[in-house]
Point group: C2
């Protein structure tokens, strides 16, 4: 109840304040030293010294502009560096791999996507494939003067301590991710052989991208992110924080039960939502090849667009099942909004009315329909690779000195 | 992201430190001034002055004992006062009203329960009934030298801003609680006419009782509390904090869907869990009168105890449905434990195996069965009235000076 930590020493305080100043500039976009002092509650002298160090290490730049918007002499405007430290994000999904390099300001400066069926492929091969794409991204980043200080790998499965405990749709079970990826990458780019690698669940990374960079989450502090892919990923953000759960496995909405006696799911249980509203179930109901992947979803979208009755029935049915489950989640968590990501984003025009209908009928507060726009399509930029890269950037913002050397400034 | 509050002035710091010292004593049970100084990171002089004020206002007492367990001179042992400031908790449920007075140490010193069918009774009459019971509790509290500084009323429904938005099982819709209760109470006990009244959902209060006073939650930081009554209440505690949700309506597990086409629920939707595992559904399946209330549940328990087949089938069926829904909740938020409260606590020996079976089958991490004892019967003391009283006590601990006058010390 009472935090009783040891007293902070001078070095710790300076470290904390370096982060405070860097985050103040990050959040403000462009800002003078005087304004930083006001916002951060520090003296001008302290801010000058902290800014000096952040400029030297390449975390900040002076834009050359001056601002006289405030009392006193005009000041030079500072912003976070657009070169130097950055984050590398990798998303390994069932039918594609995406990598992203995000700079300190949160802009995605490199983005590469490779479509490939990763099912049934040995995990080591998939990780090598991802490392190859990441190596190419590091090359493009270097050309732009960016130097990622860490890589973060997102996988659609239960990820803990650097290991994928299980990812049924990839067919992975107890697969170590971080070490093999780091080795494959450093073989390709020896200059990055010391790059720290971390890992997380894909839906978590996508939800964080939505929180940090998504247009749909302005003013939204608590939301459910649900992402239709081969499986169905989910993540809960509560008061601006991702809910991880006691073992790091929170958010598994794809295995909430539609019918206890329903079809067998890859997780071992029966009647999971995935079997009713996952990509394969959607394609099957529309009379399409269940293994058709992204082109299949594009075809479903086209057919729904021209009012093909099987396509409309398929999206409506999936939407109803999704809506019933989401109603339960909304009754449990009472979020500000529900974000539809992955293929649900693309299919939202046909899926959303059925989802919304169930929510209106089943959310007990009766508030669902009063607040318009609570069911939203996720931002197209808010994807897992970007969120993963953003996680590295957040670490830099939280403790710049720890990353000063690696940023190579 | 960065808290940029105004600088704390001297009075604010003292106020904060008074709470810090009081909470340190509260958490420690018995403690010397020297030990408080170490734990709270304050100087001995500061602690002496703060303790002096807390003693004067009646928040602390000196036990007379001395302790020489540490270096230096032996010190007098302090503890929180067992007289003076206290909390009054009121639980209005469908077939009973309970009131509880809890002292600063968390002990329930007065506890009164009145069985009464509150369904269909005008809310004003029910609130008057509750006020009468509360008045009796205040009398007993006064005899013990306790003076509640606030009342907190828990109702099984959606409660926000002092109003029950809806409580389908009581038949309440848009009922103001705090004002009418305060007026009824002050008519009976004019000495308490300025007593502040607050309100909350019943399952929230019960979950907080479990968190603060329950034996089952030791070492548990995140749990789901599910309480079978006429309805089914639920509350989520995450990292020691109750999840309230964007509108204060989180935890409505009773309206998660078992079958979208199932029986009509009082909430207006169909196939809610309440219709399969609520008290009436349990009694009906066992061949008992669905309106029999607490005596009906006692009879069900007796019959299950002597292996009556209808009773066993009824608890097994309800347990399976409850287990399917709880699996979804565990997949979503990955808690340390699930606590069965209300009638589920009493029926746990017959209900829990079926619940546990579904959890073992459906929790995707596969971790459910590895961690033993994750499904627990709630502590019998962890009830809503005690949690409601505890909420008042927490307010006192958080800001003692604000309650000094009312405590009448």
């Amino acid at each position: 109840m009472i935090p009783l930590g040891p007293k902070a020493d001078k070095a710790t305080v300076r470290r904390h304040n370096l982060s405070l100043v860097l985050r103040t500039v990050h959040d403000a976009g462009e800002v003078t030293r005087a304004r930083i002092a006001t916002r951060a509650g520090l003296t001008r002298a302290a801010v000058s010294s902290l800014v000096e160090q952040l400029l030297e290490c390449g975390f900040l730049t002076e834009s050359g502009k001056t601002s006289s918007g405030q009392a006193g002499r005009p000041g030079t405007v500072l912003e976070v560096a657009r070169t130097g430290p950055a984050g590398l994000g990798v998303e390994i999904n069932v039918d594609y791999i995406a990598v992203c390099v995000v700079d300190l300001a949160g802009t995605d400066r490199v983005r590469l996507v490779e479509h490939a069926d990763n099912r049934g492929v040995p995990p080591s091969q998939v990780l090598t494939r991802a490392a190859r794409l990441a190596a190419r991204a590091l090359g493009s980043a270097a050309e732009q003067g960016l130097r990622p200080v860490g890589a973060h790998v997102a996988v659609p499965g239960l990820v803990t301590g650097g290991t994928v405990r299980q990812a049924p749709n990839l067919g992975w079970k107890r697969v170590a991710v971080e070490g093999p990826f780091a080795r494959a990458l450093s073989a390709l780019r020896p200059a990055h052989r010391a790059l720290p690698v971390s890992s997380d669940n894909e839906a978590n990374a996508a939800a964080l991208a939505e929180l940090w960079y998504g247009a749909g989450t302005e003013g939204v502090r608590s939301f459910l992110y649900v992402s239709g892919e081969i499986g169905i990923g989910g993540a809960l953000v509560l008061e601006g924080e991702l809910l991880r759960g006691a073992h790091g496995f929170a958010g598994e909405i794809g295995h909430m039960v539609v019918d206890p006696e329903g079809p067998q799911c890859r997780c071992g249980a029966r009647g999971c939502l995935e079997q009713y509203a996952g990509q394969a179930a959607l394609l099957k109901a529309a009379g399409l090849d269940t293994e058709a992947g992204a082109p299949g979803v594009a075809e479903l979208r086209r057919r729904a667009g021209r009012k093909d009755s099987a396509a409309l029935a398929a999206t409506e049915r999936a939407g109803r099942h999704l809506g019933v489950v989401l109603s339960g989640v909304v009754n449990l968590f009472d979020p500000d909004a529900v974000m539809l990501g992955g293929v649900y984003r693309e299919l939202a025009p046909w899926l959303a009315p059925a989802v919304d209908g169930e929510l209106a009928r089943r959310v007990v507060s009766g508030l669902w329909s009063e607040d318009r726009n609570r069911l939203r399509a996720a931002s197209p930029l808010g994807d897992a690779a970007r969120g993963a890269a953003g996680a590295v950037v957040r670490e830099v913002l939280a403790d710049p000195p720890a990353h000063a050397e690696r940023a190579g400034a």
